[in-house]
């Protein structure tokens, strides 16, 4: 087991190098540069060149990349071209906000999605099933920018019940913090709950067709017992995979939701880095995101072993 964990960590290295290389080359392939964007239309080409020189942006690309990598290895992610702030500091102040968003949205998706999936699968073709699948279909189809604005108009504008923008740290101000997060959680959670619900439903239905379930039914076990004890655990494996992917996606930046609800998380940092061509920031964010995503997938693999004792990692 220990060896396996170690192996997995070693595998991180090529993944992260790949991600950083792709991020670095992509931003340089796109037209437009950080300095011109920063200085605007009135600066002369001369001024742009001077600033580029000062920021070492006129060095050959591989030199710039290696400079950056050698910094990262020593824990220095560099400084933003636009603001001059250390990138690591920028990421650290933003990551917690996105983590809060991701945790809440994942909880909502699990708390709604899994029970709804189970209900749907065990009462297949009933009104409840139709209602649940119908809702899930709607949940997946509504784009979250639209749902977010509807929720804002409803709860923020019309009912005036909840704050619609900003982030308050729930660790410092639990009530205010959660109040600020409810609408973003609902916006993100709806689509994710729908995805989880559909996955849970279909994988449970698949398990129900397995022979060992038929055996259990044939020997007269109670329906609830068959479902709860024998079916759910096995059906959870694909569902957990989906949840893991969701978490990765959420942590990678919930750009739209952060934008609508004015939460300055990792998503908005990514967006402004792209628009400003601030590739030092972008590389840092993508590297951290890739790290988190890989770690979450790793954790998901570990959960498999718990769900199905036959799965072992040696």
């Amino acid at each position: 087991m220990k060896l396996y964990v170690l192996k997995r960590f070693v595998q991180y290295v090529p993944v992260l190098i790949g991600v950083s290389l792709i991020a670095f080359s992509m931003i340089h392939l796109v037209s437009g540069g950080p300095v011109r964007t920063m200085l605007g239309t009135q600066a002369t080409e001369e001024q742009v060149e001077q600033v580029r020189d000062r920021l070492d942006l006129n060095e050959p690309l591989h030199v710039q990349y290696l400079d950056w990598v050698s910094g990262v290895v020593r824990g220095d992610f560099g400084e933003s071209i636009q603001s001059g702030k250390p990138v690591s500091e920028m990421i650290l102040t933003r990551l917690p906000k996105t983590v809060w968003l991701a945790i809440g949205a994942t909880l909502i998706s699990v708390l709604i999605g899994i029970p709804a999936g189970i209900v749907s699968a065990t009462r297949r073709y009933s009104m409840l099933d139709y209602a649940a699948t119908g809702l899930a279909f709607t949940g997946i189809s509504i784009p979250n920018f639209f749902l977010g604005i509807l929720l804002i108009l409803m709860f923020g504008g019309y009912l005036n019940l909840l704050p619609v923008s900003g982030f308050v740290d729930p660790l410092k101000h639990p009530i205010e913090g959660v109040k600020h997060l409810i609408l973003p959680w609902m916006t993100l959670g709806t689509a994710l709950a729908s995805i989880v619900m559909r996955m849970m439903r279909s994988s449970l239905l698949e398990v129900f067709n397995e022979q060992y379930i038929q055996v259990a039914n044939a020997k007269g076990l109670a329906r609830e017992l068959v479902t709860n004890k024998h079916a759910i655990m096995n059906a959870l494996i694909p569902t957990v995979t989906i949840i893991g992917l969701n978490v990765g996606y959420l942590l990678g930046g919930t750009i739209v939701v952060e934008q609508i609800f004015a939460i300055s998380g990792l998503g908005r940092l990514t967006l402004s880095a792209v628009l400003n061509r601030d590739f030092i920031v972008l590389q840092g964010v993508l590297l951290v995101t890739a790290f988190i995503f890989t770690t979450v997938n790793f954790a998901t693999d570990m959960v498999y072993a718990y769900l199905d004792p036959r799965i072992g990692y040696e």
Partner: protein
């Protein structure tokens, strides 16, 4: 001012507008709101600000409101973007300017009628040959750092703007400055290499006075410092900017507010909800299509003023068939400008017929000869004269989706106008950074939509846009044509005329 590189999804009043509304825009405007802070339950105090062509804010409230302002109170402002860079000498971001208008001050300011008034200066004299400007400073003005404003600070600030290493976009305003002398603590003498009438306007528009050495001692991008009525107390990127009252402000009565918070809220619908639910006292960046709705909303007071921002349609005159002026004029007559004002600005603007916008007192006289009216007949006859069949023209309009939707919307409408003549026009929408590179730097375009939020003085429009020396970095004209310098670059009469 140029197109700002703010990434906000809505265009809003160009930065100088705030200045225009009062150099101490912050002071008076924020002060005005403070009085209403007390009765914000009735909601009368909420001012909103319209975008680009408009721009005034709660200012008029301050003046028309009965009752005298009371000190104290906090103001919460919903702003559409992050300031990104708060160095007053280098920033090109709208929101930054909005914040900085309360933090830093210039020697002069522009009043509501765009006239220059002294701010940190007491008065100034111009020599008979108009090349020496002697400015005497107000005494007893303190910086947020505690030090007193002296001539050395002024010298330092202007020299910092001119420092090529800084790359300040404001440097062009002062390129004719030969030397800056400080004969005594409160006198600054600017020697210009030639007469330059807009010099004082340049000092008013964009020359924030910083304490000597500030650029070396601190990171001004992060922590600006000046003599303004408020100092920066906290800034969390993409989140909030908090200003607090500066107790030693040189106008003893101001500011009224204790503090003001800019909350960065990129989504307009969210800002609007904040405003209407009372969580925000003030909102900037009202999308054009929402203007009438906000105007009619309960408890919201929409303020708008005409601005100097102007949107232009650009031809690359090196690219055939647009190298023929008759073709360009034909296209110009094919564009239905009143429809653009309605369709893109939702009626919140006017048709411009001259390089200087209608709001400026220096607008060119509009005559039958120069008015670009919408006329299919004129367009068709000009095409005929040029021997170009419009149906044979295949071209594209490059436009940016940011910082505001107006460029892309204009491009789309113009596309439909031109296709009525049979032209085949594509619209290429890109992000601002790409647009800057392709259109502005590489000149890789045929048609484009851009803007210019000009200067108070027409020099800011004509010199920057049409003089041969500046063509190098302007996309408007071909580099070879040098229209204003018929006798070659040394015969730039426009330059001498100033």
């Amino acid at each position: 001012m140029d197109m700002d590189s703010s990434n906000d999804s809505y265009q809003w009043n160009r930065r100088r507008l705030l200045k225009m509304v009062g150099g101490g825009a912050g002071v008076t405007a924020l002060a005005g709101c403070s009085q209403q802070e007390g009765d914000s339950s009735t909601g009368t105090g909420t001012g909103t600000d319209r975008s680009q062509t408009e721009g005034g804010q709660a200012e008029t409230d301050a003046q028309t409101d009965s009752g005298s302002p009371m000190p104290g109170g906090s103001l919460s402002i919903a702003a559409p973007g992050d300031p990104q860079n708060l160095d007053p000498h280098t920033t090109t971001i709208d929101v930054a300017q909005m914040v900085l208008d309360n933090v830093v001050e210039e020697l002069f300011e522009l009043n509501k009628n765009l006239e220059v008034e002294p701010l940190l200066a007491k008065d100034y004299q111009v020599s008979d040959d108009e090349t020496t400007y002697t400015v005497s400073l107000k005494e007893g003005v303190s910086f947020h750092t505690g030090s007193e404003l002296t001539a050395a600070d002024v010298k330092y600030s202007i020299e910092r703007i001119l420092d090529p290493d800084l790359g300040s976009p404001r440097a062009a305003n002062f390129e004719l400055v030969d030397s800056i002398e400080t004969p005594d603590e409160y006198t600054v003498v600017f020697e210009l290499s030639q007469p330059f009438a807009p010099f004082v306007i340049g000092l008013a528009e964009s020359a924030a006075i910083l304490p000597e050495g500030a650029g070396e001692e601190r990171d001004l991008k992060q922590s600006p410092v000046g003599t303004g009525p408020f100092s920066l107390s906290n800034w969390e990127t993409d989140d909030t900017v908090v200003l607090e009252k500066f107790d030693d402000y040189h106008d003893d009565d101001l500011p009224y507010l204790d503090d003001a918070t800019f909350n960065v809220i990129p989504e307009a619908a969210t800002r609007q909800t904040q405003l209407q639910s009372g969580s925000a006292d003030m909102m900037f960046g009202v999308p054009f299509q929402q203007v009438s709705q906000i105007e009619n909303a309960d408890g919201v007071n929409l303020q708008s003023t005409s601005g100097l921002w102007k949107q232009s349609f650009w031809f690359n005159t090196e690219e055939p068939p647009f190298d023929d002026p008759r073709v360009r004029r034909a296209v110009s007559h094919a564009i239905n400008r009143p429809q653009l004002v309605q369709g893109v600005l939702f009626g919140n603007g006017e048709v411009a017929h001259s390089p200087v916008p209608p709001t400026s007192t220096w607008q060119d006289r509009i005559t039958d000869d120069n008015v670009q009216d919408f006329s299919r007949e004129k367009a068709e006859s000009l095409f005929e004269e040029a021997g170009v069949d419009p149906a044979s023209i295949q071209t594209s309009i490059k436009a940016s989706r940011t910082p505001g939707p107006t460029y892309a919307d204009t491009a789309t409408l113009v596309q439909s106008h031109l296709s009525q003549l049979g032209m085949q026009v594509d619209v290429e929408i890109m992000d601002f950074s790409t647009w800057l590179q392709e259109v502005w730097v590489d000149k890789n375009y045929q048609l484009s939509v851009g803007s210019w939020s000009g200067r108070i003085d027409p020099d800011g429009w004509y010199y920057r846009q049409y003089h041969s020396e500046t063509l190098e970095h302007l996309a408007l004209l071909e580099r070879r044509s040098r229209q204003l310098s018929r006798g070659g670059p040394n015969d730039d009469r426009s330059r001498e005329a100033r």
